[in-house]
C-alpha cells in the first residue's frame, strides 16, 4: 500500500514527460488555426506553459495536494470538475461489466468443473474461448447491429437521452440515483443504455473468470477435505456450492482484481463505440488535441482506482480465507 504514492508520482512524471516530448504544439492547436505567434505566446503565458517544464511540474504537484488537477487548455474548464463528472459513468460501466462477469462466470465455472467432460463443460469452454478471442470493439459493433439496428430493442449509444430529465444527482451512478429517486422508468432507461456496453466489456473477464473458476474448482475437488465431506454424508450439492465454492473463489479473486483494473484502462474503445460519457471518451478527446492536463488527471484517477481495487481484493482474501486474516 505504501508503494502507491511513488507509483502514482512516477505516473505523473511519465505522462508529463510524454506530453512534452510529443511532436506538435498543443497551445497552437488550442489557440486555433488563425492565431498569430503573439497570440499563441499570450495563450501559453495564460496557462503558465512558458515556464520551464520542471517549474510547471512542481507547481502541478503542489496544486494536486490541494485537489487542483490543472485546467484544460481547450475548454478552460478545471480538470477536476470533468473528472468528477466522468468518473462515475466509467465506474458504473465497469461495475456493471464486472458484476455480469462474476455472477455468470463463477457459477458457470463451478458447473463446468462439476460436469467435467460433459456437455455443460464443453458448452462453457467453447463459449469462453469465443468470448476471449473476440475483440471487444468488434463485439460492440455486432451488438449494436443486432440489438439497436435490426431488433431496435436497445439504444445505439449514450448514457441517458438528452430529452429526458435524469434523476437527481446523488452518487453519479444513474441506475442507483434513479432507484434512490424511486423513478423506475428512469432506472429502466439507464439500464437499457448500460446493457450493451456492459455486455461488450464483460465477455472477456467473464470467460477468464469462468476458466479460472473451473480450474480451481477441479483442484479443490481433489483435496482431502472434500473426500472427508463426502465420506461423512454431505450431499454433492452442499459440498460444491458451499464447501468447494468458497475455496475455489479465493483463487479466482486475484483474476477479478486484475481484471477490474484492466477494464478501467480498457474502457476507451467501448466508450468510444457506445458514446458513453466516461473517462475513456474524455481521455481520447484530450489525447487527440494533446490537452495533457486531462490526460494526467485520467491517468491518476485510473491508477488510484486500480490500487484501490487491488487493496479491496486483499481485504476480500481475508474475508474468504480465514488463514490470511490471522497471518
Amino acid at each position: 500500500m505504501f508503494l502507491t504514492i511513488p507509483v502514482l508520482l512516477g505516473l505523473t512524471v511519465l505522462v508529463f514527460a510524454i506530453g512534452r516530448l510529443l511532436p506538435g504544439d498543443p497551445v497552437a492547436l488550442a489557440a486555433g488555426p488563425n492565431a498569430t505567434p503573439a497570440e499563441i505566446a499570450a495563450y501559453a503565458r495564460e496557462f503558465g506553459l512558458d515556464r520551464p517544464v520542471w517549474v510547471q511540474y512542481t507547481s502541478y504537484l503542489t496544486g494536486l495536494l490541494g485537489g487542483n488537477f490543472g485546467v484544460s487548455i481547450f475548454t478552460r474548464r478545471p480538470v477536476i470538475e470533468d473528472l468528477i463528472a466522468y468518473t462515475p459513468a466509467t465506474l458504473e460501466l465497469v461495475f456493471a461489466a464486472m458484476a455480469l462477469a462474476i455472477l455468470i462466470g463463477i457459477p458457470a465455472g463451478l458447473a463446468a468443473a462439476v460436469y467435467r467432460d460433459r456437455w455443460p463443460d464443453y458448452l462453457s469452454r467453447v463459449a469462453a474461448l469465443g468470448a476471449i478471442s473476440m475483440p471487444r470493439f468488434f463485439l460492440g459493433l455486432l451488438l449494436q447491429l443486432a440489438f439497436a439496428m435490426w431488433l431496435g430493442w436497445l439504444p445505439l449509444g449514450g448514457r441517458f437521452p438528452l430529452t429526458d430529465d435524469p434523476p437527481r444527482l446523488v452518487t453519479g451512478f444513474l441506475t442507483v440515483d434513479a432507484l434512490i429517486a424511486q423513478d423506475l422508468s428512469a432506472f429502466w432507461t439507464a439500464c437499457r443504455h448500460l446493457a450493451m456496453p456492459a455486455i461488450a466489456m464483460s465477455l472477456s473477464p467473464l470467460a477468464t473468470i469462468m476458466r479460472m473458476m473451473r480450474a480451481s474448482t477441479l483442484e479443490v475437488m481433489q483435496q482431502d477435505y472434500v473426500m472427508t465431506e463426502r465420506a461423512l454424508g454431505l450431499s454433492q450439492r452442499l459440498i460444491v456450492t458451499k464447501y468447494v465454492a468458497r475455496n475455489a473463489i479465493s483463487a479466482t479473486l486475484t483474476v477479478i482484481g486484475l481484471y477490474f483494473g484492466w477494464l478501467l484502462g480498457g474502457t476507451v474503445l467501448v466508450e468510444t463505440i457506445f458514446d458513453w460519457p466516461g473517462l475513456g471518451l474524455y481521455a481520447t478527446k484530450a489525447v487527440v488535441t494533446q490537452d495533457f492536463m486531462p490526460v494526467i488527471g485520467v491517468t491518476l484517477v485510473i491508477g488510484t482506482l486500480f490500487v484501490c481495487a487491488n487493496l479491496l481484493v486483499d481485504v476480500l482474501y481475508g474475508v474468504i480465507n480465514p488463514k490470511v486474516r490471522t497471518e
Binding site: 473426500m227 461423512l232 454424508g233 454433492q236 474468504i320 488463514k323
Partner: protein
C-alpha cells in the same frame, strides 16, 4: 457370536486401470466385523488396505476402479448394489470415516462448528433421533440443536472449552486437536461402523496413544465396529481386538490379535513381525524381507507371496491358497500354515 456380522466383505475383487494396464489390486478380500470388534488391517504401502476401507464407503472413483466381483454386506445389504444416493444415506450416519492427515482433511475456509453442524444435519435427515428435535421444527431450531450436539461431541473427544473452540478455524488447532475434531465429525452421526485410515500416522507418538485411547473409549461407549487401517503392528497390539494382515491385495492372515501376534502362521506375517525394531535388537540383526511386491498388472498365478517366500513349493505357484481356519477363527491363506518351520 450368534449375532450376524455388521460388515461382511466376501471375496471382494477390485481392479484399477492405469496407463500400464489393469491392475488387480484387491484379489479376494474376506473380512467380517461385528459390533465391539476393533479390526486392525495391516500391511505395507500399496497392499490395498486403504482401498478396502474406501470400498466400504464406495469412495473409490470408478473409473479408474472396477469391481470385478464379491460382496460388501453391511447389515445384510450389499453395498456394491447401492447407487450414490443410497450410499449417501449410510455415509456419516451408519458408516463413519477418519483419514490420515488431520491438516488436510478439515476444510480450511470454514469454522469447525459449521462443518460439524452440516454433518449432524445430514445425519439427522436419515435418523431424526440424532438431534431429537420434532419433525416440524424449523431450520433455525434444527441448526441450534445441531450446534449443541457439536459442542457435546467436541467435549466428548476431549476438546476443552468446546463451546468457544467450536467457532475456531482448523488452522487454529494443533494436529492432534484437529484429529480429535475429525473424530468428532465422524462420530457426530452416531455410526455403527467406523473406518479409521491411519488416524495416528501423522501425529506425534505421545498424541498417537491419546488418540488411540480416545478411539477405544468411543468404541466401548457406542458399541461400534471399527476397522483401523495402519502399517504399525504396535498400534494393532495396543488398540485392536482382531487383526487382518494384507499383502498385495489379499488378506493373508486374520484372527484375534493375541492369537495372530503370538502365533503368526503366514510367512508374510512372520516377516512383518521380525522387521519391527525393538530396543533389544543389535546392529545387523533387524531382518528385512528380500524381493519386491509383485506387479499387480501381471500378478503371480498362485500365492501372491510365493516369489518372496522361503518355503514356497510348486503347489504354492499353482493357484491362490484358500484361507484355512487354524483354530479359534485364526485364518491363514497358506498351504503350509504354522509356526515358523523356517530353516533358521
Amino acid at each position: 457370536m450368534t449375532e450376524p456380522p455388521l460388515l461382511d466383505i466376501r471375496d471382494l475383487h477390485l481392479s484399477m486401470t492405469s496407463f500400464d494396464g489393469e491392475a488387480h489390486v484387491l484379489a479376494g478380500v474376506n473380512l467380517s466385523v461385528r459390533r465391539n470388534e476393533v479390526w486392525g488391517v495391516v500391511g505395507e504401502t500399496g497392499c490395498g488396505k486403504s482401498l478396502t476401507g474406501l470400498s466400504i464407503s464406495r469412495l473409490v472413483p470408478s473409473p479408474p476402479a472396477r469391481y470385478l466381483g464379491g460382496k460388501i454386506l453391511f447389515d445384510g445389504r450389499d453395498l456394491l448394489s447401492l447407487d450414490e444416493a443410497g450410499m449417501r444415506n449410510l455415509r456419516g450416519h451408519r458408516i463413519g470415516m477418519i483419514f490420515q492427515d488431520p491438516t488436510t482433511n478439515l476444510n480450511p475456509a470454514f469454522r469447525i462448528g459449521e462443518q460439524l453442524v452440516d454433518v449432524a444435519l445430514a445425519a439427522d435427515r436419515r435418523n431424526p433421533d440424532i438431534l431429537g428435535v420434532a419433525a416440524r421444527a424449523g431450520r433455525r431450531a434444527r441448526r441450534r440443536a445441531a450446534r449443541d450436539l457439536a459442542v457435546r461431541t467436541l467435549a466428548e473427544v476431549g476438546i476443552t472449552d468446546a463451546a468457544e473452540r467450536i467457532d475456531a478455524y482448523p488452522h487454529e488447532f494443533s494436529g492432534g486437536m484437529r484429529q480429535r475434531v475429525l473424530i468428532a465429525m465422524a462420530l457426530i452421526g452416531r455410526p455403527d461402523l467406523l473406518i479409521a485410515d491411519e488416524p495416528t500416522t501423522a501425529l506425534d507418538v505421545s498424541v498417537q496413544s491419546q488418540i488411540l485411547a480416545l478411539l477405544a473409549g468411543m468404541v466401548r461407549d457406542h458399541a461400534m465396529g471399527v476397522i483401523l487401517i495402519t502399517h504399525n503392528l504396535g498400534v494393532v497390539a495396543k488398540a485392536c481386538s482382531h487383526v487382518a494382515v494384507m499383502y498385495a491385495g489379499v488378506i493373508v492372515e486374520s484372527g484375534p490379535v493375541a492369537a495372530v501376534l503370538r502365533k503368526p502362521s503366514h510367512p508374510y506375517t512372520r516377516a512383518l513381525m521380525s522387521s519391527i525394531p525393538t530396543s533389544g535388537v543389535r546392529r545387523g540383526e533387524l531382518k528385512g524381507l528380500p524381493g519386491q511386491v509383485p506387479n499387480l498388472i501381471k500378478p503371480p498365478r498362485g500365492c501372491r507371496f510365493a516369489p518372496r517366500c522361503a518355503q514356497a513349493a510348486e503347489a504354492c505357484r499353482a493357484g491362490p491358497p484358500r484361507p484355512v481356519d487354524i483354530g479359534g477363527g485364526h485364518m491363514a491363506a497358506c498351504l503350509k500354515p504354522g509356526p515358523a518351520a523356517e530353516a533358521a
